[in-house]
Amino acid sequence: MAEKNKITVPDELKSTVAVTDIQEVFDGNLIEKAYNWGRRNSVWPMFFGLACCAIEMISTAASRFDLSRFGMEVMRPSPRQSDLLIISGTVTKKMLPAIVRLYNQMPEPKYVIAMGACASGGGPFKEGYNVIAGIDKYLPVDVYVPGCPPTPQALLFGLMKLQEKIDNQKISETSWYDKENAGDPIPIPVLGPDIMDPKDFDKIRKQAKG
């Protein structure tokens, strides 16, 4: 019976139709679906540009590609009001403490997109003395968008991937409602003779002595 009544949703409506079958409500999926549907269609990115990719990010938000079709046009300059941190460009050692601090200030649930080669793995500037080879050494990254720079369409594809990820998250498993296991803020690196991660302090003490 259930099989027979199944409604197939056309592809272009998938993002707007949440429930097609009453059975799902009884299964207890409704709250989760509604919750994720709400979240995926109102991801607010932080208005935070780093380098070349930021220009493509702005282009994505502008007239031709129009992020508001995804409910993401509300770019917030304050980390307190944003859900998504798009690392749009080369992360330098001098900038890193500020980025980690920004991430810590964002409320849960929060997501990070590494946009472009530089943010994902250092990119062409990887060999430089002031460049971090990939933001994922410090922050948990959800989606990597390759390209140098990714075209606005490639970024949009990355954002759709993020929506896919949000769709698959379950309230019961998420960490941000779990009071006991709520994550600690990420320790903020310090600028010394080189960048110093608090996790490596012991190692540095040893090296400095030796």
Binding site: R64, A114, A117, S120, G121, A154, L156, K161
Partner: protein, 212 residues
Amino acid sequence: MYGKGILEGLLVTLKHFFGTFIDDIRKGRKRYMTDEGVEYRRSKDVKGIFTVQYPEERLPTPENFRFVPFLVYDEKEDGTNEIRCTSCGICAKVCPPQCIWIEQTTNPKTGRPVPEPVKFFIDIDICMNCGFCADFCPFDSIKMDHYYEMASFDRTKTNILDLTKLSKPASYHAEIHPIHFAREEEIRRVKEQKREERRLAKEQRLNKFKSE
């Protein structure tokens, strides 16, 4: 004065707003979700809405467009694939951020290098999409791809491309670079023709020599 500037600015937006609907009525169904519609929105005459609604609509990628590189292989008539790359290493040498790793082997019998890569890696987290590898490849074997939907959840698994991920058939190359492909084929045909002529001339000379 007295708010005229604001009103003028708002009028522009209003004009834009109505322009969209006037265009909608004039163009009808062809305005959206068609190639023609996208082309119109990229033309000089576009009024009103300018948005290309990715993912339903896509901007056409021009032939010169470059994203990450791929390696071309020829599909032979007997069903085997032959990779064009000879592992000469020019792409690895000219690559500005040095994101190409090529492993060459030698034939154990002769000790000479085998003109085929054993391993070929491109780290697209370093690649800067400059297209030098494709520009300078003397064998037309490395080309720039148009495929940009590569976002992933884990870069360690997807972002280092190896030989299997990089290889794409020559037909794909012909599809995305029709003009370049035609030009390359023409050059190759002329070369082969010359070689053939030279061979025939040589044979003739030999025959002549023999008959004498």
